[in-house]
Amino acid sequence: MSNMILLGTRKGTVIFDRSNGAWRPRPIAHEGIPVCYAARDPRDGTLWSSLDHGHWGPKLSRSRDGGATWEDVLSLKYPQGARYIVKVLPAPDFDPEAPAGKPEYAAATVYKIWNLAFGRADQPGRLYAGTIPGGLFVSEDGGDSWTLNRPLWNHESRGGDLFAGDATSENRWQGTPASVDYGVFEPGIHSIIVDPRDPDHLHVAASSAGVIETTDGGRTWQGRNHGMLNDYMPDPQAEWGHDPHFVTACAGQPDHLWQQNHCGVFYSEDGAQHWRKVSMPDAGVHFGFPVAVDAQDGRTAWVVPARADSERMAIDGGLFVARTSDGGQSWQAFREGLPQVNAYDIVLRHSLDVAGDTLCFGSTTGNVYLSEDRGESWRCLGNNFPPVYSVRFG
């Protein structure tokens, strides 16, 4: 059982400690600074927060003493010559079938460090970070230095090797509205899954591109979007341009992957070779941002459904968590302990987590809820937190 919960919030990092059965928050760390992701490295206990400074650029902050002191890590940067093909937020008269114009290029700078993942126990210094615009960074020394994974950055689905010259292929990754706050419209990597059986096997997910897999330690990457359906694009089954909101895998059955997508909930039981839509709109299970999967049973997953898709709020003013234990063939809604009137919460992509039988989620309304019976009943850990951007058990 986990004894720590880390929240990334608009006003800093909140850490809860569990003691004598009660969860108590510490005074906020990184006071006043937006934190888009916070997590604990299970290998050595290092705490990480991704600071989303509005003025001073994104920074990682690291604590090696359990949160007593923090230090900024300044080494995550795009290398010189890293460029991308600029995407523009579609105007109301946007014609998706119009021929693409000449690409415009921009030098890459990190706008947001959106997600962190940790290597296996036998790779003690290995860390991964996903960024806007669309970078996967790898550290081999516990975060002291970072390297951009170039094969993914230079992927043919993004225009090819722009370090070497102009595009040699079309950029088929779309932009994400999550980047608009930074004055751009670029995709970002928000999900990084390391296969516990094989450190060279990773899945990452980018909004709005899709799921990409490597089986050779990041030297080559393949799109894994077969079976995905993108309702709002001219070709719903296109290889690229899908909008995973979050993708996760079962630790004990790593071929079972779950995806809460803009266009529904999707499930794969063959390592993302094929996806199957398992939404159940009549039961409210369709739109949302986060998804969590049981660590042992790959068929058991939880989502926090929301009203799709332009409203982005709790359905009919009542907050609930839905669970499936049969790979999405059926869903059960749990409402006990959650507000059922006047609730307008939205739970963002990194703001639901599970550890054993315990689940926790937080909303942008500043409410944090905890369940210790696999999501069936909930209690509130507080109503007045800043908007919550991430929830992770430590």
Binding site: G54, H55, W56, G57, D72, L74, K77, A107, T109
Partner: protein
């Protein structure tokens, strides 16, 4: 020697810059910022991006003139000048 004056918010990350007068050799804005970085290592990572351009919500002025070249920072800070570093704060 020019003086560098900055928003006190930066002292939170670089206490060494607080409660003192910062004077550095005259030069381009880029050179002046590098001198400040020598006093407070990592400083330029807060005001510049990895391309060396001024971050979007950071403003610089030399005396009362806004720095116009935000990309290569070639404006010259004269011997008797002051480089001001501001941030554009907004919202809640």
């Amino acid at each position: 020697m020019p003086t560098v004056t900055m928003t006190s918010h930066l002292y939170r990350f670089f206490p060494v810059l607080g409660n003192r007068s910062i004077t550095v050799p005259a030069g381009s804005v880029a050179e002046v910022l590098r001198e400040v970085d020598a006093i407070a290592p990592g400083f330029t990572d807060y005001v510049l991006d990895e391309q060396g351009s001024l971050r979007r919500h950071v403003m610089l002025s030399i005396n009362d003139s806004l720095v116009l070249d935000r990309t290569t920072l070639t404006d010259r800070v004269p011997d008797n000048g002051t480089l001001y570093i501001f941030q554009a704060l907004s919202g809640g």
